[in-house]
């Protein structure tokens, strides 16, 4: 089966929307069980963390440590200082860009 990018975008959009609609349609007793809500919360954390790992520490499917690591450290410090999301992201980008400019 060929799954092209446009099909993927539309499928994913429908899939994400489906949760929202399901929440309005099903009785709350189904989704409000502790095991369901706990698993859903952990699922969110796990997927985002996996994406952080891949985006931060791999390149071409290999483990790589480069300018992204200090950039993430700067981001973490700013988050800890309660900086706004956009400030933190911009600072991380600037950190990596400056390191690459210097190191080449």
């Amino acid at each position: 089966m060929i799954l092209d990018i446009w099909t993927g975008i539309l499928l994913a959009s429908i899939a994400v929307y489906s949760w929202k609609l399901i929440g309005f349609l099903v009785p709350s007793s189904v989704l409000n069980r502790p095991v369901v809500s706990r698993s859903a919360a952990l699922l969110t954390v796990a997927l985002l963390s996996a994406l952080l790992g891949i985006q931060g520490f791999t390149a071409d499917s290999q483990f790589v440590l480069d300018a992204r690591m200090p950039a993430l450290a700067v981001g973490a410090v700013l988050l800890w200082m309660r900086a706004p999301f956009i400030v933190m992201v911009a600072a991380a980008a600037a950190t990596a860009a400056i390191i690459r400019l210097i190191v080449g």
């Binding site: 975008i9 309005f24 952990l42 963390s49 994406l51 956009i86 980008a93």
Partner: protein, 227 residues
């Protein structure tokens, strides 16, 4: 809360959210999507975490069928929390039948947070609608701006946009790390995904990490007590 207070909260939240829509737009284009594809994600998917996940997998893994499939499944699974928000909003909004279609689209972190922070039902409804619409408008305008910026700047790594993408995920995870269980799942998921990346098809390690979370959730390992 007076009408103007709810409205100004909503617009403030919309503007703040819109700001990071710029980073989404720029990162999406640097991941290889075009401006239209980027814009359709913000218009139809309209859920930041899922959108960042979708373009993150495309950026790391390309546009082959397996990568696109993993991107779809990851975006879908990350959207699950919106279902829980919808459960909370349904009794407040009291919509029937087809009237549920639009509020479902606007059911996101921000609209639910502002709505549920109000004390009476009238303000809760206003909070939901004002915030949902404000975020929708600003998020989409910002996406467009970011996409054009991303298009204009050339090699994304020179500007640290790859680091920005990683930082965006860090920022999305941060507020969810409340106790030992979520911290353990976060650390384990990250390690599992990185270790499996060389040996599994692109995108699949993210789904394996998701399975780890379901195990922790089901058996409540390292757990806090059920309420």
């Amino acid at each position: 809360m007076a009408k103007s207070a709810v409205l100004s909260t909503s617009i403030g939240v919309g503007l703040a959210t819109g700001l990071y829509g710029v980073s989404f737009g720029a990162l999406s284009v640097s991941a290889g999507l075009d401006v239209w594809q980027t814009q359709v994600l913000s218009l139809l998917m309209f859920s930041g975490g899922s959108q960042f996940a979708f373009i993150g997998i495309i950026a790391a893994s390309g546009m082959g069928s397996v990568a696109v499939g993993a991107a779809v499944v990851s975006a879908w699974l990350l959207g699950i929390r919106n279902g829980f928000y919808a459960v909370r909003m349904a009794p407040i909004l009291e919509r029937v039948g087809l009237q549920k279609i639009l509020p479902a689209l606007l059911t996101i972190d921000e609209s639910t947070a502002v709505a549920t922070a109000q004390s009476d039902k009238r303000d809760q409804r206003k909070g939901f609608w004002f915030t949902g619409l404000a975020v929708f408008v600003f998020w989409n305008l910002a996406t467009l701006l970011g996409a054009f910026l991303g298009d204009a700047i050339g090699d994304p790594a020179t500007w640290g946009l790859d680091a920005a993408a990683a930082a965006a995920f860090l920022g999305l995870i941060w507020p969810r790390l409340k106790e030992g269980q979520s911290l353990a799942v976060a650390a384990l998921s990250m390690v599992v995904a990185v270790i499996l990346t060389p040996s599994l098809p692109a995108g699949v390690p993210v789904l394996v990490a998701g399975a780890v979370a379901i195990l922790f959730g089901t058996f409540n390992w390292l757990a806090v007590k059920d309420k």
